[in-house]
């Protein structure tokens, strides 16, 4: 799998937000979750592009559901796949093992 074995930093952020939102997740609630939890006001377009990319990688899956309003187009809702959960855990494990034994000096250098 090489490069795509570990998702990128922003991809992880989006996946975690997806996990936190749970059911009915799409770009707007994901964006809101990232803003609320991390304080980062990212571009919705980035969330949009990232969700699509993660879906291509098989880390998230989407279903289109018709909206309530008559004129609306179907809305695509996203959720993590098993592969997605795996990738998140792998990334976390890797980061944790890299951190093991590392101590930040007092003056932060």
């Amino acid at each position: 799998m090489g490069k795509s074995k570990y998702p990128g930093e922003f991809e992880q952020v989006v996946m975690l937000a997806l996990a936190r939102v749970g059911d009915g997740a799409y770009s707007v609630p994901v964006h809101a979750e990232i803003l609320e939890t991390s304080g980062r006001d990212v571009a919705i377009a980035s969330v949009y592009v990232t969700l699509s990319r993660l879906e291509n990688k098989g880390l998230v899956a989407s279903v289109a559901e018709p909206r309530e309003e008559a004129t609306g187009r179907p809305r695509r809702f996203y959720s993590l796949t098993a592969g997605g959960w795996d990738a998140l855990q792998r990334s976390r494990k890797m980061i944790d093992s890299m951190w093991a034994g590392v101590e930040v000096p007092e003056d932060g250098r």
């Binding site: 770009s27 006001d41 571009a43 377009a45 592009v49 004129t71 609306g72 187009r73 179907p74």
Partner: protein, 902 residues
Amino acid sequence: MRRDWPFFARVLASILGRATPAGVSGNLLRDLDEGHRARLPQGARGANRWLTRQLVLALSPGRIRDLRRLPARSLRGVDDVSALRATGRLLMSLATDLRYSFRLLARSPAFSLTTVVILTGGLSVSLFTYSLLHTMMYKPLPLPAGDAVVRIFAVEDGRTGFIEGRTLDFVRRNVDSFEVMGTYDSRLVQIRGGVSPASISATFIEPNMFDITAVAPALGRRLLSADAEPGAEPVAILSHHIWNATFGADAEIVGSQVNLNGVSTRIVGVMPADFGFPVFGHIWIPVARSESAPPAGETTYVAAYAKLRPGVSAPRADVELHETIQRYRATVTDPDLLELTPDSAKTRTFQKAQMGDEAEVSFAIMNMAAGFILLLACVNAANLLLARCLERTREITIRVAIGASRLRLVTQMMGEGIIMTAVAGGLTIFITAQALALFDARTHAALPEGLAYWWRWGMDAPTLTVAGLLVLGTALLVGGIPAWRVVRADTNAALRDGQQGGQGLATDRLTRALVVLQIAAISVLLFLGGMAAYVTYQAGTIDFGLDTDRVLVGMVAMDEGDYPTRESRVAFLERVRREVEASATIEAVILRVQVGEEGPVMLEGAVYDTEANQPTARVRAQMGDSAMLGVELRVGRRLDERDGLGAAPTAVVSETLARDLWGTQSPLGRRLRVGSVEAPRGESTQPWLTVVGVVSDIYEGNPLDGDRKGKTLYLSMAQVAPTNAGITFRHRGDASAALVALTEALDEVGPTVELVRIINFDDMLDQMRGASLAASQVLGGCFGFALVLAIGGIYGLTSRSVTQRTQEIGIRRALGATKVRIIALFLRGSGRQLTIGLGLAAAVGVAASVAVLNLYPELDVGAFLAAGLLVPTLISGLVLTATYLPTRRAVRMNPRAAIWRE
């Protein structure tokens, strides 16, 4: 949908809609709309800002690439974006048209450059003139709430003037429109205690000046009302300039003592640089409010200023002033006092007070003149664009034929004009900003004192606004004329006959007539502009005929009350001269005064029926030997002690006057007197003067005046007994020691003598020259612009009229005419236009030259002749080149190609 989005966001959204697949942009925009709506309850501004930021982020190059790659999974709901897509299409077609216009312009760089230069010239002249005059006349004072600070004038018989003290006192107590009111007076004072003694402009002002200007001193404290109380210690505040120039920016200046007109005064503060309230000044001395309201029996007239209360307009204050003065007049019973009381009073801005009421009219005229140059530039540029438009006739008709709308064609035709005007607008703002900064620097260098402090020229908000309006108007005019031509074009004829169908004989005749007119107008403009610049340059570099080395000039004045008789005044002036001459640091001294303006004189034995037939002379009285100024004796003797008060009245005349009055005959012993034959009986009792000598000429007066011819009649000051006199002296090398000696000598003569202003004679002449030189540079600059306009216009018109005849050239070639003959034929045609145009110009030019030379006889006739030859040569060269180059191009073409050329 998205009606609540701000306009900018809608534009960005439409761009996004065009840039990405419909499904992608539709979904993304819907999500953004949701986010936007969720934020609206917290405030529309924040929500709009968030939305705009999101759209900008989505449109960043990397992200737009990603968005384009996304699979468009849904095309439903496209209706939502169809409106946006229509806007997007319009924007795209506009962008295409602009790109097309850019390509057209890039294909003919010479044309584009010429047009931009023409437009820049016209716009710059107009913008510069506007900004210059606006700053002088309308810009608010550079103070906090500067537009609320006004002057108050009395109105008497429709004329304005200073206001009588008691009236003002009543106004101060009863008028509610003003927050603060005060009075001031400007006089020159002698200051000692700095690096060198100096005569500086002092403002005697009420301490409430600080309430009006709201400007804090840079050093020390402000003036307090206690400073103006009777018996208070004399204090003063210095200007930044004097603090630097006279006190070497001494940081310890506050608290030190200086000598002002003999009074020991404590300096309590220094004002910031560029502060000059009310007009300009170098030292502020407090006066009490009571000084403007004199005790009974005395009268003072004061200069008053005020600050309008917030919310009160100047017209409303004027109404209240008028009503208050009417009430005051009703209370005045003393008929003498009523005589002094004004009919009314009104406010006026400081700027208008400085420039005078009539200045508004002349400013409007100057702006109109500049606007006319801009109009010429616009017509020139529009003409060039029209020519291109005609060249594209067939292209346009094909566009019409395949269904282009007129609107589309008009926007295409306007594109070029709009682009070039926009470029010219940018250049204009840059050039005008530079020109204003240069003008500001030069004016302040030439006149370090005497410029109102609000005259700081430079690029400012009103100038930028006007620049925008001018550019808009120009773009409409320059783009609009070709567009109008397109709308009116006969497309059928054009399709049938090509370019010829779009023009015809009438257009050709019109072009030729325009060339002739342009030649005439430009020649006159060039000649007159060159001469105006030359005249002012001459005036700026004139030789005054004086030896001014180490010479200082000043004024002494006495109080007439102290010296009521002629004898006492003459005795005083003689003492001044003796005391000053006795000083070891002063080499020579002469007192001079001008006795009235240049006026009529009459010779003994001559009979004049009207004043117009009388000779005129400038009359000066002097005491002392004018040899010190380099004035040479030609015949007879100079005026001296023999020409005292009781002696027979005598006079000395300048060479030119002697020649004027008596030709080659000797003037010695002849008699003349000052005065007009039309003067009422009793006034023409000036004594007969006997001429005792003739001296060399000196130029006097303003170098821009026609009257500098040195026709001077010198009288003995002892026989005139004036109350003031100019004092001109040569020091022995140390100017400051001489100044101290002079002041001491004058103290010796009497405490009532006032020494007003001492400056270096050379500096004075330099200032006069400096003003002329600045004027010549501005004139030269303006005519330089006009010249560029002219060259661009005339070249464009001439070469266009030749290019239009390319087909004719092809036919002539096909019929066997040689290249040389065709070129000669065309050059002859232009020669005819030149002859007519230059003939018209010569008539005007000669008349103008004669008038100018009459006014300034000392100007070099050779220069006029040279210009008279140079201008026609230049214009002829220009027109013939503009004919030759396109003709040569046309004759070099294959005749077949020329005939079929569009």
